[in-house]
């Protein structure tokens, strides 16, 4: 209970901090880095739905982000489609590809599913890299237009783009919050806890898992579409599994199966990476041990750890109250006896 009353003001403070950030940031580069972290967070929030809540490790997630980004890139650059139409189409196409990939790959369970999706991700990469006529191949797509303005609002500088990305981040989290706290979310969690038990409870495994998969690829597609309009250059490498592993790292650091875990992880790791730039590739020497320590001492991630403590305290306070009541009851009994 305490965690819930605490949550709303805390969220408001965080939102204000996010809004104020560009005004206090030392330079535009910081705003740029933060925007990128938000975009990656949107993708990671989507991955967390299938991985953290439904318990299926999808290693093709970066591939779906690339599908979103390439949809925007191809439609705007080669076909002159306005950004916002391409943006919507990007989400839809990612979800459609996700539907068929999910239908096929979710027939497999556990590690087999992960390995299969690893291959799906690589196939997406290969298609992007080899299909020159459609995707510009290894050259990538350059000069993707920035998101066009909506009415009086323009998105042609880092500031306005930051707020645009922040807007979509908030919408993403709001929608995800609805999903995971609903009966549907409970069905996802039931599948994570045990597929056999979930099925016994009348949950259609395939349909529910495919839905989680499609939703997560939709998030990936939207994040990719934002990325394309923000970075304005995309290459086939963004579909590689190493980017999926980055997102998994965000989720593990922040808290797997928590709403804000992927966001916290994306922000922390993005800034850690930035501050270790001077070490170049050697930064992995710092990164690796840090991750190991985290998994050893906070296996549920930072928010997971915090939430577990909160839940324990809430349960304990309920017990205390009950105990007090029974003690008072006994005292009264003693009083009447005397």
């Amino acid at each position: 209970m305490t965690s819930k009353t605490l949550q709303k003001p805390l969220l408001a403070v965080l939102l204000v901090l996010a809004i104020v950030f560009p005004m206090v940031a030392a330079n535009d580069y910081y705003i740029y880095v933060m925007s990128l972290a938000y975009i990656m967070a949107i993708a990671a929030v989507g991955l967390n739905l299938i991985l953290g809540y439904t318990g299926q490790l999808n290693l093709a997630h970066a591939g779906f982000m690339a599908i979103g980004a390439y949809t925007v890139g191809i439609l705007t650059v080669d076909y002159g489609v306005p950004y916002w139409i391409a943006f919507v189409v990007a989400g839809v196409i990612s979800a459609i590809v996700g539907f068929f990939a999910g239908l096929l790959s979710l027939r497999l369970k556990g590690h087999f599913f992960s390995i299969f999706t690893l291959c799906v991700g690589f196939m997406i990469y290969l298609v992007i890299e080899k299909w020159d006529a459609l995707t510009h191949g290894t050259v990538g797509i350059i000069d993707i237009p920035a998101p066009t303005g909506l009415g009086p609002i323009r998105f042609d500088n880092t500031w306005s783009q930051y707020y645009l990305v922040l807007f979509f981040l908030v919408v993403s989290l709001w929608l995800m919050s609805r999903i995971v706290h609903s009966l549907l979310g409970r069905a996802f969690i039931a599948i994570r806890n045990g597929e056999d038990l979930a099925e016994t409870l009348g949950i259609n495994l395939m349909r529910t898992k495919v839905l989680a998969f499609v939703l997560s690829t939709f998030y990936a597609g939207m994040a990719g579409a934002l990325y394309a309009g923000f970075v304005r250059f995309i290459g086939p490498a963004m579909a590689l599994e190493s980017h999926t592993f980055d997102m998994i790292a965000f989720i593990l650091v922040g808290g797997i199966g928590t709403l804000f875990g992927p966001l916290l992880g994306a922000i922390l790791l993005t800034w850690l990476t930035q501050s270790l730039q001077f070490l170049q590739d050697f930064r992995m020497i710092v990164f690796g041990p840090l991750l190991i320590l985290l998994v050893m001492f906070f296996p549920q991630g930072l928010i997971g750890y915090w939430r577990e403590r909160q839940a324990r305290r809430a349960a304990a306070s309920m017990q205390d109250r009950r105990l007090q009541r029974s003690v008072i009851g006994q005292q009264q009994e003693v009083g009447t006896n005397a």
């Binding site: 999903i179 609903s182 009966l183 409970r186 039931a190 056999d196 038990l197 009348g202 949950i203 349960a315």
Partner: protein
Amino acid sequence: MLEIQGLTKRFGGLTAVRDVTTTFEKNRINAIIGPNGAGKTTFFNLVSGYHKPTSGRIIFGGQDVTGLRPDQVAKLGVARTFQSTTLFDKATVLDNLIVGHRLRTTSTFWDVVFNTSRLKEDEHRCRAKAEEVLDFVGLSSVAHHLAADISQEERKRVAFALALATDPKIVLLDEPAGGVNPEETLGLAELIRKMIRKGLTVCLIEHKMDMIMSLADKIVVLDHGEMIAEGTPAQIRSDQRVIEAYLGADYAAA
């Protein structure tokens, strides 16, 4: 209520269940006993849809349910528990139970997005159901405990509650008293009787013979996948084949 006709399941060369024919009557406690590896759990897996039978038919409430998926069987009113129940340890007991009634609700993804009144009503119903079944199994006092913190016996009761939350007609219990002490076993037996009083039908697998003999209306004995006997506890106790295969001479003498 539940009719089994010539049910057979082969895994490669192994016949786990061989040509079993029996019926479980409504509002009775039916027990399945037999040595380890006799095919008891496989039998449950067949009835609840986890395995497709190699041959034979399963008729539930007059309807042929052979070959249906577990979630379809569950919707028709067959609930089951497992030998060990995987709960979400970081959530409360009540939270763990809410999903149990999901199969009786109709809200979809779009209800979630638009937060419709149908969704709110469904969620309200599921929560009410969870509270109801928790009260039924006598665990209202631990409703807000974390699932990680409850005892083995309470876990068993939560498993019962989860099965009951699906609004079943028959409940299949796989070793409901496994790993709990004799006193707690009596409590669980009483809970099973309470389920019968509520109009449910129960079918259980159990090794605790004292419990079975005092509880069951009908006992089915499996050995190496075959049904070697069925009948009342008294009949089973004096059945020569059952004594040889499972009970042992000591038990028969007692």
